[in-house]
């Protein structure tokens, strides 16, 4: 037990209370910080406060192990459904692993309102196999339910939906361009009710061609929604080809800057870089500006023959392709049963 040292780093205020309870006549209060793990304060009386334990943040190798399993889940879901979107899902697997296992402060069982926790919106809903795997692997619902992906009467709809009450999903997405507006609404609702937790939103890059995003981007800056973190899956690809061939996004950083956002960059397929960037983004919240991470990824990352091409945007692997893909992805947490 060490005496509690006043936390005065700029990051300190992001420690958030998870629970308080009496144990051995002491009041234990659990705080968590994504970048620095958990801290349990033990208050024996009005004057004595002790730090009881520190840090359970996942290490980079631990995260990579999880991500490998998640990539397996993506391949296996799309393969068994014979449809779905492996490309974008694989590319974003590292970020989503880092986000859900090290940064997002959530509580289980899932509560729709998300009061006093961080919330996440997947705007590019087609990468649902990734979303579902991450949710299942972090305890929102049983992992074996991944076997029902895109099947009739499943809660795992082709695109994320609330209609069947899948824990972890707060709004339906799939029709592109709508998620950031929803996330902004959540951010303002949280501010309205005095909740300082964060709202994260992932969007595609092709998706940024949708004008509604720019409405939300403009409004977020106007409202100084500084607990909103947008992440762009900047894989340079969309359905019919590279962004530059379809409708070029041009100078994407200049665009976000000109709309009044704080811009961060990250290699979304370096676990270290994306994990650090998420920590940094968290630390930068609350400073009057919304934050965007322009995350460079490679579509299909992790499976050699799927990488860097739009070909695998929305095509499921067949038996042979799935076998080849799974050979490249270590089973680290146990496959779900099909």
């Amino acid at each position: 037990m060490t005496k509690f040292a006043k936390m005065n780093s700029p990051i300190s205020k992001r420690f958030v209370k998870v629970e308080s309870r009496m144990l051995n006549q002491a009041l234990f209060t659990v705080y968590r910080h994504p970048g620095q793990g958990a801290i349990i304060f033990c208050r024996l009386d009005r004057f004595r406060l002790y730090t009881f334990a520190l840090s359970n943040m996942k290490t980079q190798p631990e995260l990579e192990k999880i991500a490998s399993q998640i990539r397996r889940d993506i391949i296996r879901q799309t393969w068994s459904a014979k449809s779905g979107h492996p490309g974008g899902s694989l590319g974003c697997a590292d970020m989503m692993t880092s986000l859900f296992f090290n940064h997002l402060r959530f509580t289980l069982p899932f509560k729709m309102e998300g009061k006093d926790e961080d919330v996440f919106v997947l705007s590019n809903g087609h990468i649902s196999p990734l979303f579902y795997s991450v949710l299942a692997r972090s305890g929102f619902f049983p992992v074996n339910e991944l076997a029902t992906f895109r099947m009739i009467n499943s809660r795992l709809q082709g695109h994320p939906a609330t209609h069947e009450h899948l824990p972890g999903v707060r709004v339906a997405t799939g029709s592109l361009g709508q998620g950031l507006s929803v996330a902004l609404g959540m951010a303002l609702a949280k501010r309205f009710s005095g909740d300082e937790h964060l709202v994260y939103c992932l969007t595609g890059d092709g998706e940024l061609q949708e004008g509604q995003n720019w409405e939300a981007i403009m409004a977020a800056a106007h409202y100084k929604a500084d607990r909103l973190i947008a992440i762009v899956d900047w894989n340079g690809q969309q359905i019919d080809g590279p962004n530059d061939k379809i409708i070029s996004l041009g100078d994407l950083e200049a665009k976000w800057l000109s709309f009044g956002w704080k811009v961060l960059h990250a290699n979304g397929n370096s676990m270290k870089e994306i994990d650090e960037t998420l920590t940094l983004a968290g630390a930068m919240t609350g400073k009057g500006m919304p934050i965007v991470i322009l995350m460079k990824t490679i579509m299909g990352f992790g499976v050699d023959f799927m990488m860097g091409t739009n070909k695998w945007h929305g095509v499921a692997p067949n038996d042979e392709q799935a076998r080849l893909a799974l050979e490249q992805l270590a089973e680290t947490l146990g496959d779900y049963q099909i």
Binding site: V171, S181, G185, M186, G211
Partner: protein, 319 residues
């Protein structure tokens, strides 16, 4: 002199004023009520709420799609957002946003729409949406309400705060007779203003007044019509409708909307499925509106009191 003569108009007030007043009341009663507006706060009388509860008013600017998404997010976090803009920009402009982020996602958002129908007048067809009832009623789970006057709009604006689920509340721009103050308002419950046996007249929104005048005129000619106000188009009070037509054997529907997709089509569906009898539509027949004064336009597009009279006479002959 029958009791239904109570429905007289002593004053004219716009239904949008009913909305502004009802919204303010709802906000006073329920701290979760917030308002979002797409640069039309004055037109929708949302400035009342803005003044009293500035922190509960969100100006979104000319960005209706974003407004719907934001409302969805706010509802997710437990607030009760009312969105406000003109009817066209509340529905057609943002249909997919409402569909996915609100209706399919089951969000408790109240979509409030002014300047519906022809009677908005001079702004013309770009603004005069005549399809919004049809748009909204096709969405599973959407409640669609089109009140008849100031009093009913105010009552509706308050009632929807207590209703769990997405609602489309449609009202209008011009001053309009106020005559339903004595009537109870309950979502989904049709109101019988007058018993009758010759023809059932179903009217919604501003057209209830037109229908009332028509029924009065024909009463003098000895035609005994039943007049029913369908303020809630969805869920439709099919029981009230069927009970009435089983008695009268024919019906007229009156609405400030296209024939296609409106109240008339909802009634036609009910009749075709349960009790096929003749129906006449008083509605716009597949045309765009135009600029003009409210009553001029009702005249030009076949929604005048005389048009209701003619429809009633015609449908009785068709029995």
């Amino acid at each position: 002199m029958s009791s239904w003569d109570q429905y007289q108009s002593t004053q004219k007030i716009a239904t949008r004023n009913g909305f502004g007043d009802g919204l303010l009341e709802a906000a006073r009663k329920n701290p979760k009520v917030v308002a979002l507006c797409a640069d039309l706060a004055g037109s929708l009388k949302m400035d009342l709420l803005e003044k009293e509860f500035p922190e509960r008013f969100f100006q979104i600017g000319v960005a209706e799609a974003n407004m719907m998404g934001m409302a969805s997010g706010m509802a997710t976090c437990g607030l009760i957002p009312y969105t406000g803009t003109f009817a066209n920009f509340s529905t057609g402009r943002v249909y997919d946003q409402i569909r996915q982020s609100i209706a399919y996602s089951g969000k408790n958002v109240k979509i409030c729409a002014s300047h519906a129908g022809l009677t908005l007048g001079e702004d013309g067809a770009t603004h005069q949406i005549l399809e919004d009832i049809g748009l909204m009623k096709m969405l599973p789970g959407m409640c669609v309400i089109n009140p008849a006057d100031y009093a009913q709009t105010k009552a509706a604006a308050m009632a929807i705060a207590d209703y769990q689920g997405p609602v489309y509340l449609r009202f209008g721009r011009p001053d309009w007779p106020v005559f339903t103050s004595s009537l109870p308002f309950e979502i989904g419950k049709a109101i019988k203003l007058k018993e009758g046996s010759d023809v059932s007249v179903f009217a919604t929104g501003h057209m209830l007044w037109q229908a009332l005048e028509a029924v009065r005129l024909l009463e003098k000619e000895g035609i005994n019509a039943e007049l029913i106000n369908i303020h809630t188009i969805k869920p439709l009070d099919t029981e009230a409708i069927l009970q009435s037509v089983c008695k009268t054997g024919c019906a007229v529907s009156c609405e400030e909307h296209q024939r296609n997709g409106g109240l008339g089509d909802s009634i036609a569906q009910t009749l075709a499925l349960m009790h096929p009898v003749p129906l006449e539509y008083v509605a716009v027949n597949d045309q765009f509106g135009q600029s003009g004064k409210p009553l001029e336009l009702l005249d030009k597009y076949g929604l005048s009191v005389n048009d209701v009279v003619d429809a009633m006479k015609k449908v009785i002959i068709r029995k």
